[in-house]
């Protein structure tokens, strides 16, 4: 396999952008990524896009709005992990030698209200949808509730994770929620799906993100000093032992056990010949407070059962041994589903380059880990400076 490098990254700010189209947002992210890489759209040999709620035209029109260059276009739909699924396929296309330079785009315009999955008119899962059992946050909330019963520190740690997200979100000009939030604010905000309060939940956001991936030869030509290598990719979906119950797709099970994250992380570390002790900065998929706590354990940053203390003791902070979600993560940055996975890469690349500005983690980070899940499907990448 050939080595694969992230050469350029770009983002359209996350927020509510009703006056903009998906094309408007994606053009800004793509243009920024191309400029960051020092290349141009006609040099892209393929495009990989990720979005969940994409329209009939979207992916093709987004690419063609940059130019009718005749390249192959692939579109991935994997709920919250759509963007990282696009990245994964682009990575393998370069690693296999099929292309030298590809564009990856994640984007989404979100509706309002709680996220649900599926459509009764097409999947005929009438009980699931009509009885209100298709709410993604409700399944995750129940996973969190079970942990609350077992872990006396979990309630405090959930609040710590949420408050840290808002604290770092204030430093991130591309984030959706930029406001000062206290622990009392988090505890006293309205319950959405108990035990999750509104301020423990990511907002529905619009946004777009883009990266340029290159082979080693192209990266050298464009400038190897700013290139970040993707040294491992691992991905998967739940096996039967990880299922939690029915009806409905696998939702929230990994937020209970972390077993899928554990399995995929083992593979990623092995491929990278690295371990959790080598990781300097992390983006983990935590749309609801508590996700980062379970990830800290499942990704191996602390022993099992000590995730709450890990967060309460500040070990996930920028100055801690394993900074997690240094740009605020999903809770404050926002969660335009397809854009999230690629935005995680944006943040990690900027961290590894030392270009993250006000939320740059100290210590000259060398290795970063990205974790992105979507209705049970999980994509993970390890990046190295």
């Amino acid at each position: 396999m050939s080595r694969v490098f992230v050469q350029g990254v770009g983002l359209h700010p996350f927020g509510r952008w009703s006056e903009k189209s998906t094309i408007d947002m994606c053009q800004i992210a793509i243009d920024a990524a191309l400029k960051d890489a020092g290349t141009s759209f006609p040099r892209m040999q393929a495009a990989y896009l990720g979005a969940e709620f994409s329209g009939f035209f979207d992916g093709r029109m987004i690419v063609q709005s940059m130019g009718w260059t005749g390249i192959p276009i692939s579109h991935m739909q994997q709920a919250c992990a759509s963007g990282s699924a696009a990245l994964r396929e682009a990575y393998h296309a370069i690693a296999a030698g099929r292309f030298d330079t590809v564009l990856v785009v994640g984007y989404e315009k979100m509706g309002s209200g709680l996220i649900t999955g599926g459509d009764p008119e097409s999947d005929h899962e009438y009980h699931l949808h009509r009885m209100g059992l298709d709410l993604t946050p409700a399944r995750i909330a129940m996973s969190m509730q079970r942990r609350l019963e077992e872990d006396p520190d979990f309630a405090e740690a959930m609040v710590v994770e949420a408050v840290q997200s808002y604290e770092y979100g204030l430093l991130n000009p591309f984030g959706h929620r930029q406001k000062r939030v206290t622990a009392e604010d988090v505890r006293n905000s309205p319950v959405i799906c108990s035990p999750l309060t509104r301020l423990m939940c990511c907002p529905n956001s619009d946004g777009a993100s883009a990266v340029i991936l290159c082979s080693e030869a192209v990266s050298r030509r464009l400038g190897a000093e700013r290139a970040i290598e993707i040294c491992a990719e691992a991905s998967g979906s739940p096996d039967v032992s990880e299922l939690d119950g029915g009806p409905g797709p696998h939702i929230g099970g990994d937020f209970k056990s972390g077993n899928l994250t554990r399995r995929i992380a083992r593979e990623a570390y092995e491929k990278a010949s690295l371990g959790p002790q080598d990781v300097d900065v992390v983006q983990c998929h935590s749309p609801f407070a508590g996700g980062g706590i379970l990830c800290a354990e499942a990704l191996g940053f602390c022993p099992e059962g000590e995730g709450s203390r890990f967060w309460i003791d500040g070990k996930a902070r920028a100055e801690g041994p394993t900074p997690i979600n240094s740009d605020g993560g999903l809770i404050s940055r926002g969660h335009p589903l397809g854009a999230t996975g690629v935005a995680e890469i944006y943040e990690l690349v900027r961290q590894l380059r030392g270009e993250a500005g006000a939320h740059q983690v100290p210590g000259n980070p060398q290795v970063a880990l990205q974790h992105n899940t979507g209705l049970g499907c999980l994509n993970m990448h390890i990046l190295k400076r």
Binding site: H127, R130, G132, V191, G246
Partner: protein
């Protein structure tokens, strides 16, 4: 607004029998029984896997030799959540309680919890499956679905 001390009652009409002309919200999820209803699962003849709802292929071995199996009517709450918002396609009005009920067969069932009311749900609470009228169809026939409600039975595993 919901708080952690304010538990809503799902506005469902609990039924003791399947009414005449009733339409199941989703066919093949339950069957009438002498003392109520039973959920219908699939049991794999090849590997013994049991899954709910019914499946065409086994979730464990992908075998196609599956037969119906009626599930125990009682189980214990494994987790629950108070839901403050109605989902897009739902006919159940918020607020309501959603629960994960563990059955003796080792299956977890996600369900609306009806009749919890002032009896605050708790992990380990004994529940039983029952039938509820959840809506009416255009011909004014009752649309019925399974839900779980608190149970005082000592038979709960």
């Amino acid at each position: 607004m919901l708080t952690n001390n304010n538990f809503p009652e799902a506005k469902l009409n609990i039924l003791s029998d399947v009414p005449q002309g009733a339409v199941a919200l989703q066919a093949d999820t339950f069957q009438p029984a002498e003392d109520g209803i039973r959920l219908v699962a699939s049991s794999c003849a090849t590997c013994g896997g049991v899954f709910f709802p019914r499946r065409r292929f086994c979730g464990r071995c992908s075998g196609a030799d599956l037969t119906d199996r009626l599930l125990s009517p009682q189980g214990k709450i494994r987790a629950f959540s108070l839901i403050d918002r109605k989902s897009g396609a739902a006919i159940v009005e918020a607020p309501y309680v959603q629960a994960c009920v563990a059955l003796p067969e080792g299956l977890n069932i996600y369900t609306v919890l009806a009749g919890a009311g002032a009896d605050r749900p708790f992990i380990g609470m004994a529940t039983e499956v029952c039938l509820a009228e959840v809506s009416r169809d255009p011909e004014d026939r009752p649309i019925v679905a399974y839900v779980f409600r608190p149970s005082s039975s000592e038979e709960t595993q």
